[in-house]
């Protein structure tokens, strides 16, 4: 019996581990390392109506326990994703969560209505939290009412459940979560990157051509854990947690905070085998902690549970 299967709106997952959007392309590169069908789901790279080149280079800079990126939503555009990337992914037995981005409300509506009709797209991830584009992105993700209205409009046109990806770059994350829940979101994914900057020691100038970028990696895990801990106590929709996950222990910590599934991001760049490794490690860790199923870990940081029983049986 599986210890890992998880059911979420639109998603019947054999395990709760999926690569995060932007860290996995459309899967092609990783398919040379392992069978993508082993994944719980795949969050594909953000798709906009038209192709985007993204920002000038340098686009990445390393930081302590993390990295800054300012890719700028480079993607081949909706048409190519529909005609090339999604059909290619169809060879794998894995649900796709399509990350939807744009510069305007119309952009989001166009991408959402079309991409949600693809047979292997089981859910959308509404990207209102990209910090690296001048228009759109995070602009929709920092004002609760704006986020709520966009969620509502995307919900109206989407053929599949809609998860909204929240930005940590807000004063009150709970207000944002409640607003999009009110707008009809079926779930939340959190967190996107934190805005940061690194300066070059010799020139005094920012290393990234975009000047600022999004911080990801282990450095942001405590920020994500705290936010999921808060938000999960206030909303009635599931949360897919992400931010610095590197191993099975991190996954359990996210579940304890209140996540129902998790996404692995930056770690894919360091170890291309990280997702299957974590999926392999999880069952024995769950048993060691005394649980019969990973869902028993959910919200343990704040739910009233009986005491943890180590080495049960």
């Amino acid at each position: 019996m599986s210890l890992l299967n998880v059911k979420l709106p639109g998603l019947d997952l054999k395990n709760p581990i999926m690569p995060a959007s932007g860290c996995f392309g459309f899967g092609r590169e990783f398919s040379q390392f392992y069978d993508l069908s082993s994944l719980g789901a795949i969050m594909i790279k953000a798709t906009t109506p038209l192709p985007r080149f993204g920002n000038p280079t340098p686009r990445v800079a390393e930081t302590s326990a993390g990295m800054l990126n300012a890719i700028g939503l480079q993607n081949p555009g909706l048409e190519k994703v529909l005609t090339e990337e999604l059909p290619w992914l169809n060879q794998f037995d894995v649900p796709i969560i399509a990350n939807v981005a744009g510069s305007s409300e119309e952009d989001y509506i166009e991408v959402a209505s079309q991409i949600s009709k693809a047979s292997n797209v089981h859910a959308l991830e509404l990207n209102i939290s990209c910090p690296n584009v001048k228009t759109g992105g995070i602009a929709f993700g920092t004002i609760p009412e704006v986020a709520k209205q966009l969620t509502k409009k995307v919900k109206e046109v989407s053929s599949v459940p809609v998860y909204v990806k929240l930005s940590p770059n807000v004063t009150n994350i709970v207000d944002m979560a409640l607003a999009v829940e009110d707008g009809g979101a079926d779930g939340l994914t959190m967190i996107n990157t934190l805005i940061g900057m690194r300066l070059d020691l010799k020139t005094g100038q920012p290393i990234l051509a975009n000047r600022s970028g999004g911080l990801s990696g282990p450095a942001i895990k405590p920020v994500a854990i705290r936010m999921i801990y808060e938000v999960s106590q206030h909303v009635n929709i599931p949360i897919i947690g992400m931010g610095g996950i590197q191993n099975a222990e991190d996954v359990i910590e996210y579940f304890y905070a209140g996540a129902s599934a998790v996404a692995v991001g930056t770690a894919n760049f360091v170890d291309p085998f990280i997702c299957p490794k974590i999926i392999d490690e999880l069952p024995s860790l769950i048993e060691k902690l005394g649980f019969d199923h990973i869902s028993e870990c959910e919200g343990r940081s704040w739910r009233k549970h009986e005491r943890l029983t180590y080495h049960r049986g």
């Binding site: 080149f53 326990a65 480079q74």
Partner: protein
């Protein structure tokens, strides 16, 4: 095929000021094809650094399943790498990218190999393979200063070698292009690796020749997934068309990408 392997450290040697030559041994050597490919090295543990470091393969010894990397100690990653001593292991992902096309120069032809600083190392294996094919090789190696010069002896074994330093403290004074001009070096094909200004100078000077340039760019994954190391293509300089340095390169034919 790309492999991930903990390779054994066979040797570690400081060959110039802060320049190290690391010899590694592993099965992935059998996957190495053309010179100019690179490996992505993880030097850190949980305490960091987080990301891998892309480093060009300098030489390959198939019979011993060994390869060498020459790198400059600069930040925390390369500082940790230089501390690896024989008997230790290094996490290597590779070989990655497309290297220099050796067969583009016919036997009996002349190839000019131009390297700048830490761009010199991948030219060594190239020089070896070209020579084995019966190609005459000429090397022009540029460095900032005499204290960071390396490789002259090894390159000289294969062919004529000019060393040039910006400050004139070793060999000729000036830039690689000065030496090429001064000695009116003639060639059938040119292979180069080094800083972008050097590559641009070569591109301008030899736009009518057969030229292959190896680019350097900050990378995330090294396998084409993160889109950190993209560059524009000349036919669509401001548009969407792009090449990835890690998987389409790092070696490009002149005019294939915008420098």
């Amino acid at each position: 095929m790309i492999k991930q392997e903990n390779c054994l450290v066979v040797d570690q040697l400081e060959i110039a000021d802060s320049i190290y030559k690391l010899t590694l041994q592993g099965e992935l050597v059998t996957e190495m094809n053309n010179p100019g490919q690179f490996v992505h090295i993880r030097v850190g543990d949980e305490s960091g650094p987080l990301l891998r470091r892309p480093i060009s393969i300098s030489s390959i010894d198939r019979s011993k399943k060994q390869f060498t990397l020459v790198f400059r100690k600069e930040g925390i990653g390369t500082s940790k790498l230089k501390d690896k001593v024989p008997g230790m292991s290094v996490d290597v992902l590779g070989p990655l990218g497309n290297g220099f096309p050796v067969n583009e120069t016919e036997s009996g032809g002349t190839a000019l190999l131009v390297g700048g600083g830490i761009g010199v190392p991948p030219l060594l294996e190239l020089s070896k393979q070209l020579t084995a094919n019966g190609v005459k090789v000429i090397h022009v190696l540029g460095f900032q200063s005499g204290n960071v010069v390396f490789g002259e002896e090894e390159f000289s074994k294969n062919g004529e070698t000019y060393v040039v330093t910006v400050d004139g403290t070793f060999g000729y004074k000036g830039y690689v292009t000065d030496v090429i001009n001064q000695y009116q070096i003639d060639f059938d094909s040119l292979y180069a690796c080094g800083p972008t200004p050097m590559l641009k100078a070569l591109e301008t000077r030899f736009s009518n020749k057969k030229v292959f340039l190896s680019l350097e760019e900050r990378m995330g994954c090294g396998i084409g997934a993160c889109f950190a190391c993209v560059c524009h293509t000349p036919e669509d300089e401001t548009g969407y068309s792009y090449k990835k340095v890690c998987t389409d390169g790092p070696v490009f034919r002149i005019g294939e990408v915008v420098l």
